[in-house]
C-alpha cells in the first residue's frame, strides 16, 4: 500500500481512495465524518467542506485522519514465534493448591486431558484460551516463552495464539468447501495453493472423499471433522490447538493428530475416549477443578493403544460392511489377542 500523500488526496476521488485504502473509512468515521462512498468528490475538497462546517482548518482534520491510519496499520500484520507454553498451577474448587504445580509444553507436543465431567477440563482449556495471568477463578497463569501473554488476548490476525476444535462445531456458512477455504486463506494472508492442499489433507483423514465444489452443509459428520482438522493444521497460524473431544465418526484420529503435530502445533485434547487419551505421550488427569496428576504413557499402555486401534479398525470394517449391504463374518478375536511371552 502506497503512502497517502497530499497529492494523492487532491487528485483521487473518495470512492477510489476507499478501495485502495480500506483503513480510511474507519479513520474518517472515527473523526466523525460521514460520507457517501460513491461520491466522485476528492477527499481534499470534502475535508475543506467539513472543516469549514466545524470551523477548523482542513489541514488539522487531515492530520487527525492520517494519524488514525498510521495507528490502524500498526495493528495489522505481525506474526508470532512461540516456542513453548507453560501452565503454572493455581487452586482447585476448594481453594487448595493443585498437585501438579507446573506443566511445560513445546512445539509438536500432544497432551491429553482426562477426568470425569465437572473435573475441570473445560476450565483448564478456558484458562489457556484466556492466557490467564492469575485473574481467573483457578488462579492459574499461562506463560508463553516464560512470559505472560495477556497482550495477545485480543489478537485476531497472524498473532493469534489459539485455535479451537470441538465436537459441537459445524459449518454454518452457505458456501462451498473451496469458497470457505479461500476466505480463510485470505484472512490469514496465506498462499492460495493452500486451498487445494487442505482439501487433499482432509480427504486423507476421512474415508469418504469430497471436492472443492461440495457445499459445506452437505458434508457428512466425518468429512466435516476432517476438513476442520486439516484447516486448523494448515491454514490457522495459531501455534496452540485446543480440542474438546473429536468424535470418532469416520475419521482417522491418529492421522488427525499426526497432521496437527507435523505442523508443529501444541495440541491439548480434552477427551473421554480411551483411544484418544492413549494417543498422547502424556496425559493430565483433572480432579475437583485441579490438575491432579500427570502420566507419561508407559510401554504397556502403548501396547494397549495398539490393541484399541485394532478394535477400532474392526469396528470401522463392520460399519463399512453394514453400509454396503454385506453379511458379517465372526470377529477374528484370535488374531487380535497378543501372544503372551
Amino acid at each position: 500500500m502506497q503512502q497517502l500523500t497530499p497529492e494523492i488526496l487532491a487528485q483521487t476521488s473518495l470512492a477510489t481512495l476507499l478501495v485502495e485504502y480500506p483503513l480510511l473509512e474507519s479513520a474518517l468515521l472515527e473523526v466523525g465524518i460521514e460520507f457517501d462512498p460513491d461520491e466522485e468528490a476528492t477527499l481534499g475538497s470534502k475535508l475543506e467542506q467539513w472543516a469549514s462546517l466545524r470551523q477548523q482548518s482542513a489541514d488539522s482534520f487531515l492530520a487527525i485522519v492520517m494519524e488514525r491510519i498510521t495507528d490502524l496499520q500498526a495493528l495489522l500484520g505481525t506474526t508470532n514465534s512461540l516456542h513453548q507454553v507453560e501452565i503454572i498451577a493455581g487452586r482447585d474448587k476448594s481453594g487448595q493448591a493443585e498437585s501438579v504445580d507446573r506443566l511445560l509444553l513445546g512445539r509438536g507436543d500432544l497432551l491429553a486431558i482426562v477426568g470425569p465431567t465437572g473435573a475441570g477440563k473445560s476450565r483448564l482449556l478456558a484458562d489457556i484460551e484466556w492466557l490467564a495471568t492469575g485473574d481467573t477463578p483457578s488462579g492459574r497463569q499461562i506463560l508463553v516463552d516464560g512470559q505472560s501473554a495477556a497482550d495477545k488476548r485480543f489478537s485476531t490476525g497472524g498473532d493469534q495464539l489459539i485455535a479451537q476444535l470441538s465436537q459441537t462445531m459445524s459449518f454454518v456458512l452457505d458456501a462451498t468447501v473451496e469458497e470457505l477455504l479461500s476466505l480463510h486463506v485470505e484472512s490469514r494472508g496465506m498462499n492460495t495453493a493452500l486451498v487445494k492442499e487442505t482439501i487433499t489433507a482432509a480427504n486423507e483423514l476421512s474415508g469418504e472423499p469430497f471436492g472443492g465444489t461440495t457445499p459445506l452443509t452437505s458434508l457428512s459428520g466425518g468429512q466435516t471433522r476432517a476438513l476442520m482438522v486439516a484447516d486448523t493444521a494448515l491454514v490457522c497460524r495459531s501455534p496452540i490447538v485446543l480440542i474438546d473431544e473429536i468424535e470418532n465418526a469416520g475419521i482417522d484420529r491418529r492421522a488427525a493428530f499426526n497432521l496437527l503435530i507435523s505442523q508443529e502445533k501444541i495440541v491439548l485434547s480434552a477427551t473421554h475416549d480411551p483411544l484418544l487419551a492413549l494417543l498422547a505421550p502424556r496425559r493430565l488427569c483433572m480432579r475437583h477443578g485441579a490438575m491432579h496428576s500427570l502420566h507419561e504413557r508407559t510401554p504397556e499402555e502403548e501396547a494397549i493403544l495398539t490393541d484399541l486401534e485394532v478394535l477400532d479398525d474392526i469396528h470401522a470394517a463392520i460399519r463399512h460392511q453394514l453400509r454396503h449391504g454385506e453379511r458379517l463374518a465372526p470377529i477374528p478375536f484370535e488374531a487380535v489377542r497378543r501372544k503372551t511371552p
Binding site: 474507519s26 472515527e30 466523525g32 477463578p137 485480543f154 477455504l181 490469514r188
Partner: protein, 229 residues
C-alpha cells in the same frame, strides 16, 4: 460511576452474555445494574430480575429508538444514583444500524454472533466501528475457519477494537469481559459534558409526526429519493 453501552443486532446474545458477565461482576463485589432499551416489547427485564440484577426497561414505542435512547440518558443516570450503582450497563437492540449509542469517555461494546453471516460486520455501521470492545458470540457452534474469517471481517471494520469471544450459554469468556467492564473509565464531569461518539440519524419529516399516507404530496421535511438512471 461507570457507564457502559452495549449494542448489537437482535438475537445476537446480548442478554445471555450480560447475565453471565453480571454473575462474574457480582462475585467480585461490583454493584452493577442494567437499563434495557428496546422498541416494542421486551421480556428481558424479567430475565435480569430473575438473575437478581437491578434492571430498568425503556420502550421507545412510536418514537425513533435512537432519539428516545439519547434523550433518556439523564434518566439512566438518575436511576443509577437511586439504586446506588457503581456500574450501569445500557443494553440496546432497538437502535437502527445507522446509529450508535456509544458515548465518548465510556466503554463502548458491540455484540455480534458468528452465525449472522460474513457480510454482517460491514452492514452494522458505527455501532461496531466505534466500539472499544467487540464481543463475538456463538463461537462454540461454528468452525475455527468461520470464526477466524468473521473476526477478520470485524477487525477490518473496527481495527482498533479488542475482540473477545464469549459463549452466552456456558459463560466461557464472560469472566474476561467482566474484567474489561471493571476497567471501564469512570464517568467524570456532569451530564452536560457527555458527547455521543457519532451523530444520530437526521429525522424530521412528516412521517416522524405520524403521517401514514404514502404519496409525494405528503412528504414534508427531510427525505431523499432513490436515484434511477
Amino acid at each position: 460511576m461507570q457507564l457502559i453501552t452495549v449494542a448489537g443486532p437482535p438475537s445476537s446474545g446480548k442478554t445471555s452474555v450480560l447475565i453471565k458477565t453480571f454473575e462474574a461482576l457480582n462475585a467480585q463485589g461490583a454493584r452493577a445494574g442494567v437499563v434495557k432499551f428496546d422498541c416494542l416489547v421486551t421480556d428481558d427485564d424479567a430475565i435480569y430480575q430473575q438473575a437478581g440484577i437491578a434492571v430498568k426497561k425503556g420502550l421507545s414505542g412510536v418514537l425513533c429508538p435512537d432519539h428516545y435512547f439519547v434523550s433518556n440518558i439523564d434518566r439512566v443516570l438518575e436511576w443509577s444514583e437511586k439504586q446506588d450503582l457503581s456500574m450501569t450497563v445500557i443494553e440496546s437492540a432497538g437502535l437502527c444500524n445507522r446509529c450508535s449509542p456509544h458515548i465518548k469517555g465510556s466503554l463502548a461494546v458491540c455484540i455480534l454472533d458468528n452465525v449472522s453471516g460474513l457480510h454482517t460486520p460491514k452492514k452494522i455501521g458505527p455501532m461496531l466501528k466505534l466500539a472499544d470492545v467487540v464481543v463475538i458470540t456463538k463461537g462454540d457452534i461454528v468452525s475455527q475457519a468461520e470464526r477466524e474469517v468473521f473476526a477478520y471481517r470485524v477487525q477490518g471494520v473496527a481495527p482498533r477494537a479488542r475482540i473477545i469471544q464469549v459463549n452466552g450459554r456456558s459463560g466461557q469468556g464472560s469472566h474476561a469481559l467482566a474484567q474489561m467492564f471493571l476497567q471501564a473509565p469512570v464517568m467524570t464531569g456532569s451530564l452536560a459534558d457527555l458527547r455521543l461518539r457519532f451523530p444520530m440519524p437526521a429525522a424530521l419529516c412528516s412521517y416522524c409526526l405520524g403521517e401514514t399516507r404514502v404519496g409525494t404530496d405528503y412528504q414534508i421535511g427531510q427525505y431523499r429519493k432513490l436515484n434511477i438512471e
